[in-house]
Each structure stands twice: as C-alpha cells, then as structure tokens.
Symmetry: C2
Amino acid sequence: MTDSTLEDVDRIARAAQLAFAVTVRTDDRTRAAWMRAAADALDADAATLVELAGRETALPEARLTGEVARTTAQLRLFASVVEEGSYLEAAIDHPNPSTTPPTPDLRRVLRPVGPVAVFAASNFPFAFSVAGGDTASALAVGCPVVVKAHPGHPETSRRAAEVMTAALASAGAPEGVFAMIEGFDAGLALVDHPAIKAVGFTGSVRGGRALFDRAAARPEPIPFYGELGSLNPVVVTPAADAARGAALAEGLAGSFQLGAGQFCTKPGVVLVPEASALEAALPQHLVPQPRLLTPSFADGFAAGSERVAGIEGVEIVATGAAGDGPATVVAATDAPTLVAHAEELLEEVFGPFTLLVRYRDEAERDAVIDRMPGNLTATVHREADDDVAELVARLEEIAGRVLFSGWPTGVAVAWAQQHGGPYPSATSPFTSVGATAVRRFQRPVAYQDAPADVLPPALHDDNPLGIPRRIDGRLLLP
Amino acid sequence: MTDSTLEDVDRIARAAQLAFAVTVRTDDRTRAAWMRAAADALDADAATLVELAGRETALPEARLTGEVARTTAQLRLFASVVEEGSYLEAAIDHPNPSTTPPTPDLRRVLRPVGPVAVFAASNFPFAFSVAGGDTASALAVGCPVVVKAHPGHPETSRRAAEVMTAALASAGAPEGVFAMIEGFDAGLALVDHPAIKAVGFTGSVRGGRALFDRAAARPEPIPFYGELGSLNPVVVTPAADAARGAALAEGLAGSFQLGAGQFCTKPGVVLVPEASALEAALPQHLVPQPRLLTPSFADGFAAGSERVAGIEGVEIVATGAAGDGPATVVAATDAPTLVAHAEELLEEVFGPFTLLVRYRDEAERDAVIDRMPGNLTATVHREADDDVAELVARLEEIAGRVLFSGWPTGVAVAWAQQHGGPYPSATSPFTSVGATAVRRFQRPVAYQDAPADVLPPALHDDNPLGIPRRIDGRLLLP
C-alpha cells in the first residue's frame, strides 16, 4: 500500500502553507521561470512518462505523446499569462471627495488564495493530472499545490511528481510548493485541512459532489472548482443531415470513440432528424476498443449501457466489433421517450457509447434540450440557411462552449477557451482550461490610502510591472 | 401578515425566468437606461423613502438621505460599467493549427447567469436592500432580481420596490425583471427554486450560513454570495499611539459608534499598546445611542456585551451615557487572554461595542491577528518610520481591504473597491461593493467556429460595441 497517512497529509499541507508565505511575495517573472523549468523537465522525461502511462492507461502512444506536449504548453501558457499581468486586475482610484461616501485612494489587486488541493483525473494522465491545468493555474498565480493522485495511473503520477518537484527545486521554488498524496482517505483529509483554501477537481458526478459537499461543510467553507460530468449534446438539423449525413456519421464516430469514449467532452447525446442519413451511416464507423482506463470503468460502462438498453422505447442500433475492451454501443430512441425517461437516459455513460435521439420537429428537439442538465459543450451542425438563433439561445443556457460544424473532443488551451458550463459540468462560473482558469485561485484585496512602501508593485504609481491597469475607471495599456 | 406564500414565490420566480429570456438579449445601453431610470425615480421619491426609513430604523435623516444618494449613484455606476464593456471580458482567438490540440476560432464572453435572489440587509435600508448593490449589479448584467425584503424595514422596502417596479416598467424593462417577496419561509423557498441561479446576501453569520448551506445542498447547487460578519481589526502601533493617541481615540469613537455600531465595517477589535493614550482618551468620546434597528438586535447586543464582560481577564473600561438605545460599551483585555478565549471573544457583537486588546510586543500582537477569522477590513495606524511590511502581510491574509490612517466605516462605491474578505466576511472571492461586483452574476460562454449571425455583438469582428477585447491574447482598447 502506498496510501498517504493522515500525518503525511497534515505535514504536507503545513509545508504548503509555509511555502505560501514565500510564493505570495514572489514576482511574476520568477514564478513564470518555475513554470517553464517544470515544462522543460517534463518534456525531457516525456519518453518515460509516455511509456508508464501507456502501460497503466492503455491509451495509445501517439495520444499520450500529444498529451505531454499539451501539458507542457499549458504550463508555458500560464507563465505568459502571469507575465502579461492582466490577471492581476490591477485598479487604482484616486481620491474623489465628491462621491457619496467620498472615495479615498483605493488600489485593488488579485492575490493568490493560499494552498490548493488538486484532484487528478483518470482520463488525462498528464493534462488533467499531476502537472495538469489545475496545478499549472494555481502555481502560476502563487498558490502551492497538493495533488491527490488518481489511482488509475499511480506510477505515472509518481514519476510526474518527482520530475515536477525536482524541477521546481532546481529553479529555486521553495520547499513545499508542490507535493502529491495518494489514497481515498488522504484526499478527504486534504479537503478538510484548514491550510487548504481551494480545491480543483476533475472526475465523476458522484465523487465530485461528495467532495463539493465536504468543502462546503467545512467550518470555513472553501471554493470547490469541480468538473463533474457532461453529455455534450449535438444537434443535427434536417438540412445538415440531408446534405452531409454520411460525413457527419464519420465525424461523430471519430469523436465519441476517441480515447475509448473516455473524454469529458464526448458527444453522449445526438439529436438527429427521423430516418437520418447519419444514423444509417454510423454503424460502419464503429471500431474495436482498447480496454478502459480501470476495471471499475469497464463495470460502469457495462452497467450503464445495459441500463439504457433496458428502457422501453430504446433500442441498440449498432454494436462494434470486439477488441481488448468493450464493444462500442450506439443506442437510439425518440424524443418523447427521452423526455419521459429523462433522468435515466440523461445519466452519463462513460466509455464508447452514444445515444441518438430522433426528433420529428423543433418542438420535440427543444423539449429534449430543455430537459438536459448542464454541459461542457453543445454542438450544432446546420446548413447556411438554417436559422438557428433560437436553438443557440437554448444551448447557451445549458453549455459553456457552443460549437459549430465540428466535434467537442479536443479542447484547445487558449485565451478564449471555456471549459465548464452549468452544473454538473462545473461547480463554479469559471473555466478549468485556458488562460482565465487562474482566476479560480485568486481573491481580491484593496488598499486604502496606503503608503507606497506597503503596496505591491502592481499598484505603484509608476507601473513598474508594465501591465494593463484600470485608473479611475479607465482601462490603460502599458 | 404580509408574508409571501409559496405560490407567490413560485409565480414570481417563473416570471423572472421568463423575463430572463428578454434581458439576456437586451443590449448594454438599454439596460443602462433602465438603471438610470430606476435611480432617477428613487431620487425623486427620496423624501418619502427617508421618512419611512427614519421611522422604521431610527437612523438619522442625514445618514438616510446620504444613503439614498449612494444607492442611486450605485445604480448609475453599474450603468456606466456595462456601457464601458470590459465586464464582458470579450476575447477572440483566431485559429492556430500549430498548437496541441489545434486552436479553432474561439470567442468567449461573460453572460448573465439567470434570475438572482437578493436577501436585503437590516442595517442599510437602501444601499444593501431592495435597490441596493446586489440588485443593481445583477440587473446591470441582465439578471432579473427577486428581493427578499428585510423584516426590519417593511414599509421602506415596499415603497422602494414600488418605485423600482414602476420605473423599470416605464423604461421598457420586461415584466418580471424585478420583484420583492417577504417572509422567512418564502426566502427559503426562493433559494430552493430551480429558476434561481445565484443568491446575494448581507446579514448575520448564523442566517447567512444556513442559506449558504441550503444553496449548496440543492440538486443543482448555486453560488451564494454572502457577506456574513466581520470584526474589522485595527492595529495601532506604539509610535502612532504616542504621537496621536488622543486623536485616534476620537476617530475610533466616531467609527465604532457610527449608525449605533451597526455597520458591517465597524471596528470591533482594536489592538493597542499597553497603557495607551488611545484607551485613556476613549471614554470621553462615547455618545448616547439611538435605539437599535430591531428589538432582536437590542437583545443580541445586551447578550453579547454581557458574554464578553463575563470572561475572566476582560474588563468593561467605559460605558456611555444612556440614550434611546443601549449605552455604548468599551471592553478591554490583554493579548494572551484573547488568544486563550479566542472563540468567545472573536464573536461579533453587533451594535455600539468595541474590544481593546492590549499587546506588549509584536509577538503578542501577531498571535492575536493569527487567531482572527476573515474580515472585510483591517486597519493600520502607524508612524512613517514604523516598518509594517510584516504586519500588512499578515493582515492581507485575513481581510479584503487593508487601510491606513483612516477608519473602515464608509465604503466608497468605486472601481477599485473590495468589500469581502476570507470567510465569514464573504463566501466567495468577489466583492459586493464596487464595479467588479457584477462578475458574481455572470458565467462564461465560448463559441467555437461560430458563424457571425449567431455570435453576440461583443464578439463580432468589427467590435460594434467599441469595447476593450483580448484578441489572440493581446488586450486591445477600442
């Protein structure tokens, strides 16, 4: 057994708190250098990391190699985000005696919240794991990180943690700024620990909700930034199906079977017209699957597919050939059946499964959308003269990213990315991917009539950091 | 009885949801015009509002008149915030095939979350009540608002709600965009209602925590933006006390007795050197108090003062003359006693009470600070050659606003304001006062490869709103 003890957790959380006293005062360039050192070290160790992860997750080498590149690019993106400086939201209001009440000299900046707990995901052993987006965005703004490793890839996690720890130390980061723990009970103790000031989480609705509840129930509740589950509905208009249903079938098959259907953005519900060309063409694109990430995922997949298949009015319209893992399953039903059994049919089936929902008209289609829980994504396939304004308005209500003529898998790490929509796809109005993910781990502090010697550099009159700032309500570029 | 029934709550929440379908598409200038119409109408009715509030709260006319002005200035500030447009955080990333994974065309904007519940405060019958900051910031970004009135000033609340409703309707806002309910059970039903997507709250730790827990326990948890309680510590250095202890006593007396000590930013704990000039001069500045806002506040004040006075090592060093309300109470103790009885002594006593804590050295002073729960403010009075860097670093950990050579009461409504620190002073990393308060009621949506006809105007290529935007990671001004 390698589970961390409660004493380990306490020691590690206290060390993170001590490190925070250093990181909270460290300048942005120094922290950016730490991030780049970590990225370089992970890149240098990529072959070993990919080999370990391949053995533990059964994900293919090309995918894992790409994922390491994505992970290190993410560390470097966050380095550039903090150097750019907008993330501090620096604002200065000069005194104004004419307001009610009078305005003193007020200067506001975002600061790091303190040590952060990060619960790693199973399905991205790098990009949403030890050195993934939550870790990168917290470290970037000056928060020490304690990762709770996912038990699905322990050796990969330990190796990544060793590489991170060594690289951060070599780059001059304080001891305790990064650590990893293992074990279920250790994870609970971490969420409870008073030194921890926020939690990042990627995983299931059940596990995530339990931790969310625990974070909210602390004597001092802390924010829980969770990504819990998503059906990622796709809507195909009759015109799009008529024009390119066969091509859409191929695209859909590629997306929902990618990574054996174990993506958070897997299209799990596809709204298609009755007797669609997409449905007719889909079976020929099902491919044999590798084994799933863990035995419990395989059990969950089998149980979920059976549950759906057992509902009256639902049929299994295609099953893929056997591989090392479970055969791909495509189920189908009609919109009224979905609405009648919404709760059972709209529970995510993790793995190579998707549900086609046939609609006769827009009213049926919209009734399905209105029953959907929150999603990371919603996708529209339409032809140019389809008026989809009303449809998009509906989809904005249930998703954090609305996409067109593409597929939701493949989440770019960019400034304008949004990964997180209404619950349960996220538990907060933030993103866990992309530049603004850092905001989760910051809290504002204002200084009133402060002498210059106590102000952080971001708020000095002469703007020594050269960052965008808002002065007396006007945004100014450096 | 005027309590709203559960049927009322359901009808009103559904009407807010219907209104949201309109407000979510309304352009910023239109909503800004609604805000200004509401502000003008409240100003026009100020005499009646002040008269009603004076009768219900016993707060003096000058204070209430100023508070109406502050409230309407706040509505107008939020109108200008949405017109300025940075609040949308509009960002556009053009396609970039060289990233891993490739970046599509991504465009991100903040949108309103949906209908918002606002729990009005007792102590600001205008600025944190029916037409107060939570209402203004939610309406400004396009969220319909349902206010739960505070029972301490029902007539004032009804009048303000009538004025708001009529003004918004005249300005063309949709029916249901604003409504008010009354009653404890109705408030609970409002937090539970599926149409409600966020809660704003100002009040006690006990009441706020119960509602926070309720919001977190919903099937779909919603963010609860609460301001629950704050001790607002003040630190006076030995040099500052020696140089101007008598003047500091006068300033402190003015601040902690303001509004009969019923401000969320009242200085409730004051760290002073032993045998301070401040303590010696304070008794002469105690003034007779008006009655407190409600009978239960008077009971709570009596119980709280007695509780503190009963702790061994605590003495009542001054009591004010009798007025219509309770006599002002100044208690004092030493730092070790405070640390030993931190839980009892650091429970807020709402009303004209403050606790002096005498420290012998910086170690004693810091031990007290390290026991403090989160605060809205922390104040430093020092002389120019006092090195307070370490002290400020400690205070940043426990407060949202750190101020110098002033007093925490009087919260300016400004761009750089921060009203909210660690729990229990706030339940989220946001502010409830000032321009950025709007962010509480927004959530991000990204559009991927979206045709121009479905994009919101903020994300059109030609920037028709003329707002600051981030293009390919670079912040650009219009």
